[in-house]
Symmetry: C2
Subunit: 373 residues, 2 copies
C-alpha cells in the first residue's frame, strides 16, 4: 500500500539533499487504504538518486490541494468501514467477523488493520488503512522503512471465487517550518512541495469465468474513462506487467489496473479519480462473489486453488518489492507485511493440468494476458 | 545442493579469465546428492571476482584424487538407492512410492530426481542426484546457472515428526585440453586445477523433542569427530547461521552441520568424511521417524505444523541463495528448484502460541539456538 517510486526517490532525495544544505527539515505524509499487499516500485537507490540535481520546488506542477492531507485519510477511513461492512454481509449469519487492530506510530501517524480469518466465505481477508507522517531528513531512511508495513487481500474459500487485491495511496512532502503537528496530523501553512497518488486493483481467479474478468475490468474501465480516456489502457498494461511471475512465465491473475506517480493534474482532480476507483471496488467484486461463493466444487478443484495460492505466495515473497523491502527492515511489523499471504497453500512436484481441462484454460490466460473489453 | 562459494566464484572466474587470455577452455564437474534445497553461497559477482588476479593453478593445494569425478557419482548414486529404499520401508505396506525422474543434460551430465508425494508417512520427500560437467568459459554463466536446479527435503505428515534436509556435493575444475568426454563423463589426463566438497544436514521439528535433537546431533558429531575434532563445532555454528530467518528472528530448525569449500586435506580424506556423513543420514533420521510417525496428534498441532511449514517456505523463497539464483535464471527447471517446498503450508495473522505451551517452547529454541551435546 505504500508506494515509493523512482520519481519519489528522486524528489525525495533531492529535497533531502537541499534540506541538508540549508538545515531546514521536511515533513512527509502518506495516507493509504488497501485490500492489497503494499508495493515499493523504486529500483533507484538513494545514492543513485542523489546524483540528480533537479530541485522539486522549482518544477512547475499542477495545483496541490492544501487540505488533501486531511481529505484523503477521511475518505479512506470511510471506505474501510464500508468495505468491511459489505464483506461481513457476504459472510452471512454466523459468518466471520473482522478483527480491528489499531496502532499508533510514536513518531507520528496511525493505522487500522482489519483482518477476517477462516470465515464462511473468506479464508483470509484484510482491509487496512494507514496515515503516517514524519520529519526529514534526520531519520529519513528509518522512517521511510518503518512505514512500509501494510498489506491485505481477500482470499475466498470457494475455488470458483477469485482472490482480489486493491490499494490506493496519497503522498506529500512539505517544508518542516511550514507545519506543526496537531493531534497526530500536521497543520499546514503552505502547499506541499511534492505529492502524488498511486494505486490499483486486480483479480486472481483459480478458475476462469470470462464474465467475471469482463465485469471486473468493465467496472474499473468505466471509472477510468469518466476521468481520463488514456487511463484504462495505460494502467491495465501496467498492472499486467507488475503482477507477473517471471520464473513461472505467468501473470498472477487476470489483472485490473495499477498506477503510480499520478500528479499530472490538480490533486483535487486526481483525488476524484481515486475516489471513483475506491467507490467502485464493491461494485466490481461483490457481484462476482455472490455468484461464486456457494458454487459446488470438488476436492480436485480445491487442490488446484491451493496450488494457485502457492503461486500467490511465490509472487509476494519473491517479487513484490514492498514485501521484500519490508522483510529486510529490522523491526518491521512482519505480521502486517505478510498479511497478504493466503491462509493455506500448496506446492506439488510437476503438477500438470490435464489437456483441455479448466485448469489448463486458466493457465493459458495467465501465460497470455487478454484484453477483457 | 549446488553450492557456489565466494572462493569458487574467485577461482572460477580467475580461471575463466586466464582461459580467455590464452584461448584454452576449462571443464567443470559437479556431483551431488541431496535431501535438501540446494544453496548458493556466493555474494561475489562475476565482475567483482574478475578483479582478483590469483591464478588457482599456482596455489599450493592438498592432493586431489585423480578419480574423484568417478568415485563421488558412484557413491552418491548408491546412497540415493539406499535412502529411497529405507524411506519407502518407513512408508509401510501400501505406502507411498518414490517416482524416479531421470534427466540428461545435453551439454553434459545427468540427474535423477526421486519424489514421493502424499504417502502414509511423508507429505513430500525427495532424494536427488546430479552429476554435471561442462566447458568454460564460452557458456560459463549459462552452464553454471543451468546446473543449479536440484533440491529436496522430507516433510512428514505427523506434526511430531521433524522435516529433514541434507546435501553433499563435490566440485572440480580442469583444463579442457586435459580431458575428453567419454559416455557422459570426461576422462581425465591430469589432476583438477581446483576442487572442493560441501554439504550438511539439518533437522526442522514442529515440536521439540530434546532427545531427537540430541540424537541427530550426536550421530553427526560422531562422524565429524572421527574425521576432525574441529569439524562439528565449526560446522554446527555455520548451520545455525545459514538456516536463519532474519525477519522472524528465528532459526529454521534445530540445526545440524553445514560446510563448504572443504579442500584443506587431500580429497580422498575429505571424501571419506563426506561418505561418513552420507552413510550416517539414515541412522540420524530413521529412528526419530520410527518414534514419531504414528504418534497421535490434534488438529491444533497440525495447524502449528502448517504454520512452521510456512516459515520453511519463507526461508527458501526469501533467503536461500540457490533458490533465489535459480528462480532468476531463464529456462531453469523451476519444478526442481521448488521441490523443497512443503506440499502444504499456512499463514495466519498474528498467531501467538499460548504461554508455556509446547509451541512456545519450540519458538524459544528457534530464537536461541542451543548446543545439543
Amino acid at each position: 500500500m505504500f508506494n515509493i517510486t523512482g520519481k519519489f526517490a528522486r524528489n525525495f532525495t533531492t529535497k533531502a539533499s537541499s534540506v541538508r544544505g540549508n538545515a531546514v527539515g521536511g515533513m512527509i505524509f502518506l495516507a493509504t487504504v488497501a485490500i492489497t499487499t503494499y508495493h515499493l516500485n523504486s529500483t533507484t537507490s538513494y545514492s543513485d538518486a542523489e546524483k540528480e540535481v533537479t530541485d522539486v520546488a522549482t518544477v512547475k506542477k499542477p495545483k496541490a490541494s492544501p487540505n488533501m492531507y486531511k481529505e484523503m485519510p477521511k475518505y479512506i477511513k470511510k471506505l474501510q468501514h464500508t468495505i468491511v461492512n459489505e464483506l461481513e454481509k457476504l459472510e452471512g449469519v454466523g459468518g466471520g467477523k473482522f478483527v480491528w487492530d489499531s496502532w499508533l506510530r510514536p513518531e507520528g501517524g496511525e493505522g487500522i488493520s482489519c483482518v477476517l480469518q477462516d470465515g464462511n466465505v473468506f479464508e483470509k481477508a484484510g482491509v487496512n488503512v494507514s496515515v503516517v507522517h514524519g520529519n526529514l531528513p534526520a531519520a529519513m531512511e528509518k522512517q521511510m522503512r518503518a512505514r512500509k508495513k501494510e498489506g491485505s487481500v481477500c482470499h475466498p474459500h470457494n475455488p470458483n471465487a477469485p482472490t482480489v487485491h486493491f490499494n490506493y495511496r496519497y503522498f506529500e512532502l512539505r517544508d518542516k517550518d511550514d507545519n506543526s503537528v496537531d493531534g497526530g496530523f500536521f497543520t499546514k501553512k503552505s502547499d506541499p512541495k511534492a505529492w502524488w497518488f498511486g494505486g490499483g486493483c486486480d483479480l486472481t481467479p483459480s478458475y476462469l469465468y470470462e464474465e467475471d474478468a469482463k465485469h471486473f475490468h468493465q467496472v474499473i474501465k468505466q471509472e477510468c474513462d469518466k476521468n481520463d480516456l488514456s487511463y484504462y489502457p495505460k494502467f491495465k498494461k501496467w498492472c499486467d506487467e507488475y503482477f507477473y511471475i517471471p520464473h513461472r512465465q505467468e501473470a498472477r491473475g487476470v489483472g485490473g489496473i495499477f498506477f503510480d506517480d499520478l500528479e499530472d493534474k490538480d490533486s483535487d482532480i486526481i483525488f476524484k479519480f481515486v475516489q471513483d476507483c475506491g467507490n467502485s471496488f464493491l461494485r466490481s467484486y461483490i457481484p462476482i462473489m455472490q455468484k461464486r461463493k456457494d458454487m459446488p466444487f470438488t476436492e480436485e478443484m480445491k487442490i488446484w486453488q491451493q496450488l494457485r495460492r502457492g503461486r500467490y505466495v511465490e509472487f509476494n515473497l519473491v517479487y513484490d518489492r514492498g514485501t521484500k523491502f519490508g522483510l529486510a527492515t529490522p523491526g518491521a511489523r512482519i505480521e502486517s507485511i505478510l498479511m497478504s499471504l493466503p491462509l493455506t497453500s500448496r506446492w506439488q512436484f510437476k503438477h500438470e493440468p490435464a489437456f483441455h481441462s479448466r485448469e489448463q484454460e486458466m493457465l493459458e490466460v495467465l501465460k497470455t494476458p487478454r484484453n477483457w473489453i
